[in-house]
């Protein structure tokens, strides 16, 4: 049974990785903790839901439209709303929080508060994998889809970061913003583009989310703390760190829910988050946290 639980946790962790990849990237480049990240994810989930229930478009397909839209929203938001505020982390945290509740209010006004979820033809399909005569793993198709999609997304992000000029500019900005500026990187553009990429990735996260979980306008509050925990454990700003932390967390969460009561596991988990921040702010992966 534990193996089955752990495998499900691993698949869920893959989806977590997509959800948080943009958050950690945005932090790396801009030192902004985007509290609105989960709210944007819920927005994307709603778009996927509406497209599915209205036009019958599968969330995986609807990403084609949602992703560029979110990229654009992210770019504009960064330029018009975030960048004029400067670089005080406290102010920026509050500002993104304000964005989050604005989104919550708008979504709530439009769609009410009913919990939604996308139910496709393959929602409750299972792929059985026989490991041995007495152990058959049951892999839910939606989670498997999410897991595979997450690796595609992370792969694309990895390629952008490591094999393109833009990626070099982004990495340079993460490592030393001033020096990047001095070799001719247009920091303002890198920042707005990164925010765009961050939101584009969470748009994908949201579409996958709509297949697996149910949500309403207020759901983002439950998710943002989990997302923060993952990127902190992975080392703020570190993409590989976020992936590993997401997988570890997915498994740990699933296994601990079986071995402990469901209340103890989140306490332990926030305690680890707290202690990591205080005693090892560079996270698990050792990438330096940048205080801003």
């Amino acid at each position: 049974m534990l193996i089955q639980v752990a495998v499900i946790g691993l698949l869920t962790g893959g989806v977590y990785a997509v959800m948080v990849s943009g958050l950690t990237l945005i932090f790396g480049v801009m030192k902004i903790i985007n509290i609105a990240h989960a709210a944007f994810m819920v927005l994307s989930a709603y778009l996927a839901y509406w497209l599915f229930s209205g036009l019958g478009i599968d969330p995986i397909l609807s990403m084609i439209g949602i992703v560029p839209l979110f990229f654009f929203i992210g770019k504009v938001t960064q330029r018009r709303v975030l960048s004029p505020v400067g670089d005080d982390p406290g102010l920026l945290v509050l500002l993104t929080f304000a964005l989050a509740i604005t989104l919550e209010g708008v979504l709530g006004s439009i769609s009410g508060s009913t919990f939604r979820t996308v139910r496709t033809g393959y929602t409750s399909s299972i792929i059985p994998v026989e490991l041995s005569s007495d152990l058959t793993l049951r892999l839910p198709v939606v989670r498997l889809t999410g897991f595979v999609a997450s690796f595609v997304v992370l792969g694309v992000l990895w390629l952008i970061l490591n094999r393109s000029g833009l990626g070099r500019a982004i990495r340079a900005t993460i490592q030393n913003a001033e020096a990047a500026q001095l070799v001719g990187v247009n920091i303002a553009r890198v920042r707005s583009t990164t925010f765009g990429i961050g939101l584009a990735s969470v748009a994908i996260g949201g579409a996958l989310f709509s297949l697996i979980f149910s949500f309403n306008g207020s759901s983002h509050l439950d998710w943002i703390s989990k997302m923060l925990a993952i990127i902190v454990l992975g080392g703020l700003g570190s993409l590989p760190g976020a992936l590993i932390a997401a997988l570890i967390l997915g498994v740990a969460e699933a296994v601990s829910a079986v071995t402990m009561t469901s209340y103890i596991s989140p306490i332990v988990f926030y305690l680890i988050l707290f202690l990591t921040l205080v005693f090892r702010p560079q996270g698990l992966m050792g990438a330096k946290v940048r205080e801003g």
Partner: protein, 439 residues
């Protein structure tokens, strides 16, 4: 020079702000006071002064009376935040009641006006709202918010000012054990007794069909835990073995681990203490885990037909739940309520939320109580409500000394894409399916 201007401006700014705030609040104060027919603006009007004024108005003839001052009924509901789902449904229920009673000539010959405010699912805001409704807007009556969480502190506020407090959804044991005499719960039975008829049904099955084992997976919520406690007692006493008992935090969204554990133990009966979205998440997780119980019961969720069916499709088949009301129920004014609801909010009558019906019930109880008293008098109303029996869409209701209703819930089961009432026997629409088909 600079200094005086500087300080002066600052001070002016402060006073302007305070003045605006004062004016904004004060103006509402004045108009409502006039409306209530008293001229005393400095002291909060008491029920007696209002009552005398209103009694005189009530004697005027009906046609004229419909132009007279309305009877104002205030409520604070969770229209945003955690409980916004049922809160919005309750608002619709109240609005249907307002529309219907006004079409029928009003209350005591006066039109009824609802004042509904949003408390954002926050206890503190809810209490403050009732303070304001009672002491500033000076509404004639208040009706309850949604969920035991919000009912507990707000009923204290109403008690402090001697207002009757009829509420649609707050039936946890804590609601009644504080000994408040002004509170009335407008459902057939206290929330914790919701699953009693289901327990009766299970125990009425022939011995060879009865489940041998059961599992409880419940949200940490005063209402669901209350229901679970009673059900647990009934079943274990009758010899059904409880093999798994899990309480999860309200923010839990992923049930896969719990489901795999349940699947491993494979109990005959699964009972979910749910508030809606978690019922969907649980069932999906059980599907993924390959768990097929012989029967499944969820406290809330299956009773919200539209979203439940949309989220689960055919997996709904055979699921049990408790319900206080359903569209085809024979209760007083039920057909009119259903028609009016569809007229006002659209949709299919099968999609009318139970919470809307419970709010409408509150209106029915209030209206009959007030008509019996014959005046706007909360003290008399409280006394009356403890005595009388009221015809409602959930059947006749009467209340004990702490406002506990004296009836029973119904058991529903999903059959063929919608639900039917299977118990108690006198309201049965179809025989229960046992064991349930696979989901």
């Amino acid at each position: 020079m600079t200094s005086s201007i500087g300080r002066h401006r600052w001070l002016v700014a402060l006073f302007v702000v305070l003045a605006i705030v004062g004016a904004a609040c004060g103006s509402g104060d004045d108009t409502t006071t006039t409306a209530a027919g008293t001229s005393d603006t400095t002291v909060a009007a008491t029920d007696t002064t209002e009552a005398t004024t209103d009694t005189t108005e009530a004697t005027t003839d009906t046609t004229e009376a419909m132009d007279s001052e309305p009877i104002v009924v205030g409520a604070s509901l969770p229209l945003s935040g955690d409980k916004s789902e049922p809160g919005t449904a309750a608002k619709e229920g109240y609005e249907v009641w307002e529309a219907m009673i006004n079409e029928a000539g009003g209350l005591l010959g006066r039109p009824v006006e609802l004042v509904i405010v949003d408390n954002a699912s926050d206890q503190n805001t809810a209490s403050t709202d009732y303070e304001k409704l009672i002491t500033v807007d000076e509404v004639d009556f208040v009706v309850g918010p949604f969920s035991s969480f919000l009912v507990i502190p707000t009923s204290e506020v109403a008690a402090r000012y001697g207002y009757a407090f009829i509420e649609p959804a707050g039936g946890a044991p804590d609601v009644f054990n504080r000994g408040l005499t002004n509170l009335f719960f407008a459902q057939p039975a206290p929330g914790s007794e919701q699953a009693d008829p289901f327990a009766d049904y299970i125990l009425s099955l022939p011995a060879d069909q009865q489940p041998a084992t059961f599992a409880i997976v419940s949200q940490d919520d005063p209402f669901t835990l209350g229901v679970m406690d009673r059900l647990k007692g009934f079943l274990t006493e009758a010899g059904v073995e409880l093999v798994f008992d899990e309480v999860y935090a309200p923010e839990t969204t992923d049930f896969s681990s719990i489901a795999i554990q349940v699947a491993d133990l494979d109990p005959d009966l699964i009972v979910g203490g749910t508030v809606f979205d978690d019922s969907v998440a649980q069932i999906r997780a059980y599907q993924d885990a390959g768990y097929q119980p012989r029967a499944a019961f969820f406290t809330t969720g299956p009773s919200l037909p539209g979203p439940f069916r949309e989220a689960l499709g055919d997996a709904t088949e055979g699921v049990f739940a408790a319900i206080s009301w359903f569209p085809a129920a024979p209760g007083f004014q039920n057909a009119e309520f259903v028609a009016k609801y569809v007229e006002m909010f659209g949709g299919d009558e099968a999609d009318i939320p139970e919470d809307a019906a419970n709010a409408f019930t509150v209106g029915q109880v209030l209206a009959q109580g007030v008509e019996n008293v014959g005046a706007v008098d909360n003290a008399a109303l409280i006394e009356e409500l403890h005595k009388g029996t009221y015809e409602t869409i959930v059947g006749p209701l009467s209340f004990d000394e702490v406002g506990r209703p004296q009836g029973t819930f119904m058991v529903l089961q999903w059959q063929g894409g919608s639900f039917v009432i299977t118990d108690p026997g006198d309201r049965r629409q179809a025989d229960p399916i046992w064991p349930k088909p696979a989901w």
